[in-house]
């Protein structure tokens, strides 16, 4: 794969330097993850939703990835904002506005820097989470995207404070997101269409939290590939 030409990646840099190319790789990798897991996500959604989460996310991120390839935007922040806008219009359902807002907020947090470090990445992810929460009013335990996103950001913040390597920080984020998604199974949904089901929503893993875990998986892989 193309990408960085010199040794700016994590292997050599103690302070990670991320750039527009990382954003492209992240969205591309997310699209690949969602394409591979499309049927699984749809199957999860069939139990407590409209059985379209996999299809919607696959379509939306494929559109976002190809929009980025063609994009004239140069800064990582602008690319994230553009991704968010594509997601808002192309994903549909509640996931479109929620993921769309998260990427737009994350992009806004990066302002117009050309490169950024782990600290800024975590701030951007935290801003994305806040965007989701202000739109959806969900807190941890409501059986939503937030149940994967919030612990992932918290784990990355802990890792960064402990001066862990970029690789370790991203891994802890991915693991926390995965654990968060799994932990939604016994929860009773308090937000979204699944909440209409009341106690019948118990016993099913939340599709939104599951797709969020894939997002963090893709982020880890995108950085490792640099």
């Amino acid at each position: 794969m193309g990408g960085l030409t010199s040794g700016r990646g994590l292997r050599t840099a103690r302070v990670a330097a991320f750039d527009a190319e990382l954003v492209r790789r992240w969205i591309r990798e997310t699209a690949a993850q969602l394409s591979a897991q499309r049927d699984y996500l749809t199957q999860l959604d069939a139990a407590i939703g409209d059985a379209d989460h996999g299809i919607n996310m696959d379509r939306g991120f494929a559109a976002a990835a190809s929009a980025l390839e063609a994009s004239d935007e140069a800064t990582p922040g602008a690319l994230l904002v553009q991704t968010g806008t594509t997601l808002m219009f192309r994903v549909g359902g509640a996931a479109g506005p929620l993921y769309g807002t998260s990427f737009r907020e994350a992009g806004g947090a990066l302002e117009d820097v050309g490169t950024f470090g782990m600290g800024e990445l975590i701030v951007a992810l935290r801003s994305g989470l806040e965007g989701i929460q202000s739109l959806g009013a969900a807190v941890e335990g409501d059986k939503t995207i937030v149940d994967a996103w919030a612990p992932a950001v918290a784990a990355m913040e802990r890792g960064a404070r402990a001066k862990s390597s970029a690789r370790e920080v991203l891994r802890s984020g991915r693991l926390a997101a995965e654990a968060g998604a799994t932990a939604t199974t016994p929860m009773q949904a308090r937000k979204g269409r699944a909440s209409y089901l009341g106690p019948r929503s118990v016993g099913h893993q939340d599709p939104g939290a599951t797709s969020t875990a894939l997002l963090f998986t893709a982020l880890e892989r995108a950085v490792e590939a640099s």
């Binding site: 409209d50 506005p97 929460q133 937000k191 209409y196 118990v202």
Partner: protein, 252 residues
Amino acid sequence: MDRAARILKALGAGTSRLGVTELADRLNLAKTTVHGLLRTLERQELVEQDLDTGKYRLGPAMLQLGNAFLESHELRSRSLLWADALASRVGETVRVGVLHGRSVLIVHHVFRPDNSVQILEVGASIPWNACALGKATAAFLDADRRRTLLAGPLPVLTGRTMSDPHGLALSLDEVRRAGVAIEDQEAIVGEAEIAAPVFDHRSHVAGAIGVVGPVERLAPGGALEALVAAVKETARGLSRDMGAGRVAARGG
């Protein structure tokens, strides 16, 4: 009776299959008691035993009871034709709801006629303040019942759910004037609902009928006039069908 009812409710909540020991633990009953009750419920087909695992789940007689409950709602049975007609006229999902405690119980749901996979929401329960069906109904209740609803709790489902009693009261006044309630992403992010009240032969509000779907289709910067007109017209026709007087059927 009470213990049998608790067994049925346990099987109806979440984990749909439970063994005798699990049920006994959950309900704090002796295993022999649970076993005896399950045998009786099984004979009546209210529960059935999974042959592979030996665990119990709800039986086919429960479905008949659920259906009988729905059919007992006059609003539901009279709404079937009207809801179908509205769904095909506007090409959107139609739901009929009645107020049940502090929530709207969906008693009828017509899928959006586009062959997409959709989940049947009959039996779903939505806080009244978060949906147009609930606001359309609440606006036409007598002052006492309206006050009780406004006194809360008023659960928040999205960042746009109205949970301030004063603001809600003003919005109910507006619904009463307009004869229609609009909800913009107050129940589910990305979805809007337009609903109007349905009245019965005593000219009391019996529930509401409405269309629900993506906000960009139903209410891009305000509810579409054509949808509002179709919903109000349908609610008027359904109210007349329920025996409501002309004035009540007009929504006021």
